[in-house]
């Protein structure tokens, strides 16, 4: 995976360039977008934003065919929401046919969204459909991330450390949207810091489309440098290793003499 990764990350650009040079109907492989709200807290506004027509249109424009929504306990309400918007155009007198949702017959959690207008760019000419899949939680998240990365897609999630870590270790492009309702609004800081380091793209509720546009323009993750390169870093900048810290503490507590012997007595007592 480590070897393949740069190519998968760059493929959207390369393919887009190829398609632009030859105006035939050869379109790049369909991409998968993954929206997750994490395991612990719920984040309804992110889900509501990600099924808004503006965002879905933008996804289609950028060549996405598949949207996976991980909704946690909200899966019922999101399903109902999609259901109601998929039935409303058929019933006479209700809202305009703007919402192009329809329910897929055979797998239960699947919906289709059809872009109402013609897709704008020539890159993806004959594609107006997006499959939406809802699920409460994933059996094994890293494998879903891998599927998303392999298709060249983007991961949209809350700015929780678990999701960001999964995105980084999976090599995914990520849009981190801070959940402002959590304790001390700490996700704001997290999204800002990781955005500054170029490890994720910082998103905002209500401005998801902009974040997606930006993320599509910068497909190569700058974050592959493995440790922070900030000023005043530790030598080596790799970060302390937890198991070393634990080992040293356990040894110094249980057998101080042996610990001093290992470290070297003069070092232990210096400064």
């Amino acid at each position: 995976m480590a070897k393949n990764k740069p190519t998968t990350a760059q493929s959207p650009v390369a393919e887009a360039g190829a398609a632009a040079s030859q105006p035939s109907h050869v379109s790049p492989p369909p991409k998968t977008c993954l929206v997750t709200i994490g395991a612990t807290a719920s984040f309804p506004s992110l889900l509501r934003d990600s099924i808004s027509p503006a965002f879905l249109d933008c996804l289609i424009v950028h060549g996405y065919r598949h949207l996976i929504l991980q909704c946690g306990p909200l899966v019922e309400s999101i399903d109902n929401c999609l259901e109601s918007s998929s039935t409303s155009p058929s019933s006479p007198g209700t809202s305009a046919p703007v919402s192009g949702f329809s329910r897929q017959p055979n797998p239960p959690g699947y919906f289709t969204y059809t872009c109402p207008s013609e897709p704008r760019p020539a890159t993806y000419p004959n594609q107006r459909r997006l499959t939406i899949e809802t699920t409460s939680h994933f059996q094994y998240f890293p494998s879903v991330v891998k599927k998303c990365v392999d298709s060249g897609g983007v991961l949209v999630g809350h700015a929780g450390s678990g999701t960001i870590l999964d995105a980084l270790t999976g090599g995914a492009r990520m849009i981190a949207v801070p959940n402002t309702e959590l304790m001390g609004n700490h996700q704001e800081e997290t999204a800002e810091e990781f955005g500054r380091r170029g490890m994720v793209v910082r998103g905002e509720i209500g401005r998801l489309v902009e974040a997606l546009e930006y993320s599509e323009k910068t497909p190569v993750l700058k974050a592959k440098v493995e440790a922070p390169a900030a000023e005043g870093d530790l030598a080596g900048t790799r970060g302390l290793d937890l198991m070393d810290v634990i080992g040293a503490l356990a040894l110094s507590g249980a057998n101080p003499i042996e610990f001093r012997r290992q470290v070297g007595i003069e070092k232990y007592y210096s400064s």
Binding site: M1, A2, K5, G38, A39, T40, A41, H137, K146, A159, G160, S161, G162, I164, L165, D166, L168, T169, G170, G171, E181, L182, M183, G184, H186, E189, E193, M199, A223, E226, A227, P228, E231, G232, D233, L234, T237, R238, G239, L240, D241, L242, M243, D244, V245, I246, G247, A248, L249, A250, L251, G253, A254, E258, Q262, V263, K267, Y268, Y269, S270
Partner: protein, 323 residues
């Protein structure tokens, strides 16, 4: 005690009370150490409360007098113990040695028993990532994971971690020897504060969660390392941010204060979550104010500056996993 009956009765009540406390203590944590600790604390309590009884005025009823004296004695013991434990915290040079590249060889102690608290979602993920990052071959290690109940995610991540530790070590050492991974077990507890829970209802659930946490700190595993002495208490307790983590470490501290655990054991490691960039989390602040952690590590330089903590860099593994 020249005025006869009253003073004598007070003595008896103090002794009866502390004897009861000792008995209760021995029941909760059976073992040689707890009996010794009980005896020692009992003697201290009796001495201190008899001293307090002499100072307290005689005009108030004797029962209230005794209760006050016992309370004063207990507070003095706890305060004294607290200060003693703080004085004997780990030498900062221990951490400095690790920063300078010292890699400890822990095979010289019989069993290296470490307790890891897996909170929820991100905390669990970070903790497992830190453990896995560079797991050394450690045949004498026993890892105890404390999982907050109703959290199937943590259990799944823990199983994943143990599996990958095995795979990593097999690859690294080029031999098929699962014995080098050491052993592990896990305990389930109720978590002390759910996300969005109000603080006043959190107080009660926190108190409820102390009993299983205490069991997790004192319990022996169902199987044992043959031919090795099981330590009286875990060597290290590691937590990284969930509220239950502070309760756990506070219990660990208390065990050292009342001599339920040897002074060299129950070293407390707190690693602030990767999500905290400028301000400490509530749990982090509690550790900061009480100052009970032997090692307090943060993963962002700004945070280290703001609170005067040790900047450790990214302790989690952010490199893309090869598959």
């Amino acid at each position: 005690m020249d005025d006869g009956g009253g003073g004598f009765a007070a003595w008896r009540i103090v002794f009866a009370l502390s004897l009861g406390a000792w008995g209760a203590l021995s029941l909760v944590a059976p073992g040689k150490l707890s009996v010794l600790a009980g005896g020692y604390n009992l003697a201290k309590l009796a001495t201190l409360s008899s001293l307090a009884l002499r100072v307290l005025p005689r005009s108030i009823p004797i029962l209230i007098n005794v209760a006050l004296a016992t309370g004063i004695g207990a507070v003095v013991i706890l305060l004294d113990g607290h200060l003693r434990v703080l004085r004997h915290k780990s030498n900062p040079d221990t951490l400095k040695a690790v920063q300078e590249g010292y890699r400890p060889d822990t095979t010289t102690i019989p069993i290296n028993h470490c307790v890891f608290l897996l909170g929820s979602g991100g905390h669990t993920k970070e903790m497992c990532s830190m453990i896995r990052k560079q797991f050394p071959p450690s045949p004498n290690m026993h890892r105890r994971y404390i999982i907050t109940s109703g959290d199937s995610y943590s259990a799944a991540v823990m199983n994943d971690l143990e599996r990958s530790i095995k795979i990593d070590l097999t690859k690294k050492t080029n031999e098929d020897s699962p014995a080098k991974c050491g052993t592990y077990d896990c305990y389930l507890v109720e978590r002390s504060r759910r996300v969005h829970q109000k603080w006043y209802s959190a107080v009660w659930s926190t108190l409820e969660s102390t009993k299983p946490l205490f069991k997790a700190l004192t319990g022996h595993p169902t199987y044992s390392h043959p031919g090795k002495k099981w330590p009286d208490a875990p060597n290290v307790v590691v937590t990284n941010g969930p509220g239950t983590g502070f309760v756990l470490c506070f219990l660990a501290h208390l065990m050292k204060v009342i001599y339920l655990a040897p002074q060299g054991s129950l070293k407390i490691v707190y690693v602030e979550s990767l999500a905290r960039v400028k301000t400490l989390s509530l749990t982090g602040k509690l550790f900061h104010w009480t100052n009970i952690a032997d090692v307090f590590l943060v993963q962002h330089p700004g945070l280290a500056e703001n609170y005067g903590k040790v900047y450790a860099g990214f302790m989690v593994d952010t490199t893309p996993a090869p598959s």
